[in-house]
Symmetry: C2
Subunit: 450 residues, 2 copies
C-alpha cells in the first residue's frame, strides 16, 4: 500500500495477497556498501515491505550487510542485519539470494565480491559503472555460465530507467542513436558557472565542498564517469561488447566562463554530451562538452538532472529525464532490478546473450558539424592571418571570427567554423602548432543540433 494513502487500510483481497506473499520464499539481499545509495536501499526495504510483496508476490528481506566501517553513524537502523567485514564473504553467504554491490571501483573488493557471488550462482545487482565498463563482458559471460543474472539499472543515469527502456521497451527496434547528459556534477558546474558568472575553479571548489565530486574528481570533470555510462548504453543499444577504451573522452576542465559567455551570445549553452551511434564504419562513442541550442531540451537541464534520448527505428525519439544521482533515485533503480528478479524476470546483462555481443570496430564521428574554437595568440601582426591560413589548408571554412580586447600581449581569439568534420578540425589544430603564434592549446567544442 503506497504511503501516499495512509488512511486506506488494506481490504480483504489485498490482505490475502499479502498473506500469500508471506508464505512464499522471501528474496534475501546481501548489501555491500552502506553509503548514500546503500542506505537509500535499506530505507526502501524498510518503508515498502508490504507494497513490494503485493507487487512481486515475495517479501524482500535483507540478510546481511557489509561496509568499511561498522561503527559509523547512519540514517537508517541496520542493527537487525548480520554484518560481514568482507564483501566477498557476504557474497558467498548461504542466506543471500541477491548480492547488491554498492562498493564502487573498477577492481578491488567490488570485482572480487561480484565474481564470488556469480561463481556461487547468485544474482547480482550493481550500481557500479566503472566495474561494468571495464569488465562487463567477462562478468556477463560468467553470470550466464552460472545461470545467474547481473543487472545494473542504477549504474546509468540514476533513477531514470534507461537500461530497461533500451533493453526491454525498445527490444523490437534497431536503435539508431543514444544521446545523453549523464554526469550531474559536470552539469551542476556548467550550469552554476553560467547562472552565477563564476570561473571554473571557484565552482569546482564549491562542488567539492558540497560533496558532489568523486574522491578522484577526474572521474567526474574528466568525463570518465559519463564515458563509462555511455559505453554501457552503447552495448545495450547496439548489441556490441562494452568498449570503454574506444570512447572519445573530453572533460570540462578547459571550459572557461568566457566560453560559456561566448556560447550564450550565440544562443547556445555548453553541456557535457555523450553520443553513441552505430554506422557502416563502426561504433561511434563520444563524450565531450558541446554547444547545444539554448532552446533544446538538453540545454534546459538544470543542475544534477540527467537526460537521455533513445532513437529507435520504430519508436522514434524517446526522451527520459530525471535525477541522475542521489540516495532515493539511485536506490530506486537498484530496487527496480531487485524486484525484476523477485518477479522471475531474467534477462541477459546487456539485453542479449553475452556471447552474441559483437566486437564492433571503433569509428570516429564523421557527421560534420560547426565547431567553436577558442585560442590565445601572441599579439603581433599577421598572427590571425596565419591561423586563418591553417584552417584553410585543413579545408575548414570560417563562419565567424573575433579577436577580443586584451590588456596584455596575448590576444584571445574566437572562431566559429562552418560544418566540418572532427578530423578536419584536428588537422587544423595540428597546423596551428606549426604557425608559432599560439599560446597554449586551443579549445575546440563541436556545436550539436540535438
Amino acid at each position: 500500500m503506497p504511503d501516499a494513502a495512509p488512511d486506506a487500510a488494506p481490504d480483504a483481497p489485498a490482505r490475502a495477497v499479502a498473506e500469500a506473499a508471506a508464505t512464499a520464499a522471501p528474496l534475501r539481499l546481501g548489501i555491500a556498501g552502506l553509503g548514500t545509495v546503500g542506505i537509500g536501499l535499506v530505507k526502501i526495504v524498510q518503508a515498502h515491505a508490504d507494497l513490494m510483496a503485493l507487487r512481486t508476490g515475495r517479501r524482500i528481506e535483507i540478510s546481511a550487510v557489509s561496509a568499511r566501517s561498522r561503527a559509523r553513524n547512519r540514517s537508517a537502523d541496520i542493527s537487525a542485519y548480520r554484518w560481514e567485514d568482507d564483501p566477498v564473504a557476504l557474497a558467498r553467504r548461504a542466506d543471500v539470494d541477491v548480492f547488491v554491490e554498492l562498493v564502487g571501483g573498477e577492481d578491488g573488493p567490488a570485482k572480487a565480491a561480484v565474481e564470488a557471488a556469480l561463481e556461487a550462482g547468485k544474482d547480482v545487482v550493481t550500481a557500479n559503472k566503472a566495474l561494468l565498463a571495464h569488465h562487463g563482458q567477462a562478468l556477463a559471460e560468467l553470470a550466464e555460465a552460472r545461470g545467474a543474472v547481473l543487472r545494473f539499472e542504477a549504474a546509468v543515469a540514476g533513477g531514470i530507467p534507461v537500461i530497461k527502456a533500451l533493453t526491454e521497451a525498445l527490444a523490437g527496434n534497431a536503435v539508431r542513436r543514444v544521446v545523453g547528459v549523464m554526469n550531474g556534477t559536470c552539469n551542476y558546474i556548467l550550469t552554476r558557472m553560467e547562472s552565477a558568472g563564476l570561473p571554473y575553479e571557484t565552482v569546482f571548489s564549491e562542488a567539492e565542498q558540497l560533496g558532489y565530486l568523486e574522491a578522484d574528481p577526474t572521474l567526474d570533470v574528466g568525463g570518465i564517469d559519463a564515458g563509462h555510462k555511455l559505453a554501457l548504453l552503447a552495448a545495450c543499444a547496439f548489441g556490441t561488447r562494452v568498449d570503454f577504451a574506444s570512447v572519445e573522452l573530453q572533460g570540462i576542465e578547459r571550459v572557461t566562463i568566457d566560453d560559456i559567455r561566448h556560447a550564450a551570445d550565440m544562443g547556445f549553452r555548453i553541456k557535457l554530451v555523450g553520443i553513441a551511434q552505430m554506422t557502416g564504419r563502426g561504433l561511434e562513442q563520444r563524450m565531450a562538452p558541446c554547444l547545444v541550442p539554448v532552446d533544446s531540451p538538453l540545454a534546459q537541464l538544470p543542475g544534477a538532472t540527467n537526460m537521455v534520448m533513445l532513437e529507435g527505428d520504430a519508436a522514434g525519439r524517446i526522451v527520459l529525464r530525471g535525477a541522475g544521482a542521489g540516495e532515493g533515485p539511485t536506490a530506486s533503480a537498484v530496487m527496480s532490478d531487485v524486484l525484476d528478479i523477485a518477479r522471475g524476470t531474467r534477462l541477459p546483462t546487456f539485453g542479449q546473450p553475452a556471447a552474441s555481443l559483437q566486437a564492433a570496430p571503433p569509428a570516429r564521428a564523421a557527421a560534420p558539424t560547426p565547431w567553436y574554437l577558442r585560442m590565445t595568440l601572441i599579439d603581433k601582426p599577421g598572427a590571425l592571418a596565419k591561423v586563418a591560413a591553417a584552417l584553410g589548408e585543413a579545408g575548414v571554412s570560417i563562419d565567424r571570427m573575433r579577436q577580443y580586447d586584451h590588456p596584455d600581449s596575448f590576444a584571445p581569439v574566437l572562431i566559429v567554423t562552418h560544418s566540418t568534420t572532427q578530423d578536419s578540425i584536428e588537422h587544423a589544430i595540428d597546423r596551428f602548432a606549426l604557425t608559432g603564434v599560439l599560446v597554449g592549446e586551443p579549445v575546440a567544442l563541436s556545436i550539436a543540433s540535438v
Copy 2:
C-alpha cells in the same frame, strides 16, 4: 543485428545464438486488426526477426491475422499468414500463443476476442485503452484465473514505455502523482491554434481532413481517450481498480483562440493535462485543459508528442516524452509486451494481482490553484459588480479582471483568481447563474504549476 549496421555480418557466436533461437519453440502471434498499428507490427516482425531472436532466444512469428477487409491494399505483405474473418476464431486458434488485439472499441469483437483468448489460456497484448478502461478489472481477473498475461503498454502514450516505468522501474516506490499530456490530437489542435492564430473550428476541420480524429471525434476533443489513459495509469500507480467513471473530464471544445491569446499574454499555454493522485481523501483523477507556464516542459510539447511525469517517493520526478501515436511508435510498444512474454516475463496486468487492487473512493481535486475564468456579460451598468460579488460570496478572490472592447452589446470578461479550490470556483459559477447578467456558460480553466 540492428539494420543500422548493414555492413556488419554476424560473427560466429552471434550465429550460434541465432541457431539456438531457431531450435527453441517460436512465439506465434495472432494479430486482430490490420490498421496502422497492426501493419506496423507486421513490419517489425518482418524486419527484425533475427534481432528479436537474439534478444529473446525465440523466433517471433505470425501465424494468422484478421481484419474487417481481406482485400484491402496494405503497405506490408500479409500473404504468408493464415486469415480469419472472425477475431474470436483467431483468438482460439491452436497455432496462436499470443493474441494481439488491435481492433479497438470498448465492447464488441475486441472484447469478445480478448475474452476468448484469455479463456483459452493464451496471453494477450492489446493497445485498446477503451476496453481496459471499462473492463480492465474483469479482464485482469480472467487472465490471472487462466494463468495468462494481459499487457497494454501501447494503450497509453504510444511508444513511450510509461506502463513499464510505472509497474517495473518504480515498483520500489510509493507513487505520489502522475501527470500527463496524452492525446496527440488535442495537443495538435491547441498547438496549431496558437501557432497559426486560427479558431478552434478551423483547426478541428484540418485535423479531421488529416485523419487525426477518431471516427467519433468526441473521444479525442472531449478528453475521453485521454481520460481512459489516465484511469489506466492511476490503477498502475496506486494499486487501485481502474475507475474511468470517476475521472473528472473536460474536453477542449470550448477553448477559443481568445483563451489561447489571453493565456499567452500572461505567460501560459493551454494544454489538455491529466493529473492523478492518491490522497487521504481518496483518488483524484482529472483530465482537463489547463494553463501551464510557457517555460514548463509540458508547455513545450509540440503537435502529437506526448509527455508523462511520474513522481515516486524515492525516484523523484521522472519525465518521459515521445511520440504518442503513429504506426512505428505504437507498434514498438505492442512489440515490447510481446517480447517480454517471449523472454518469460509474466507480470499481472496492473502490476499487482487483480484481486489486490483496491476500490479507492473518488476524490475531488482539493489543492488550491489560481483559475482562469472567461465569460460574456450583458453590457449594462453593474454587470461586472454582480460577477465580482458572486465570486466574493463563494470565497474566491480576484487577482486580475479585464473587460475587453466589444462591438456589440455583449462584453467579454476575463478574470484570474488567486489560489482557490475547484469547489469554490464551481460555487461561484453556480452563483453567476443567479445574477442574470451572463450570456452562456463561463469557461473555467485551472492554472497548473506543473
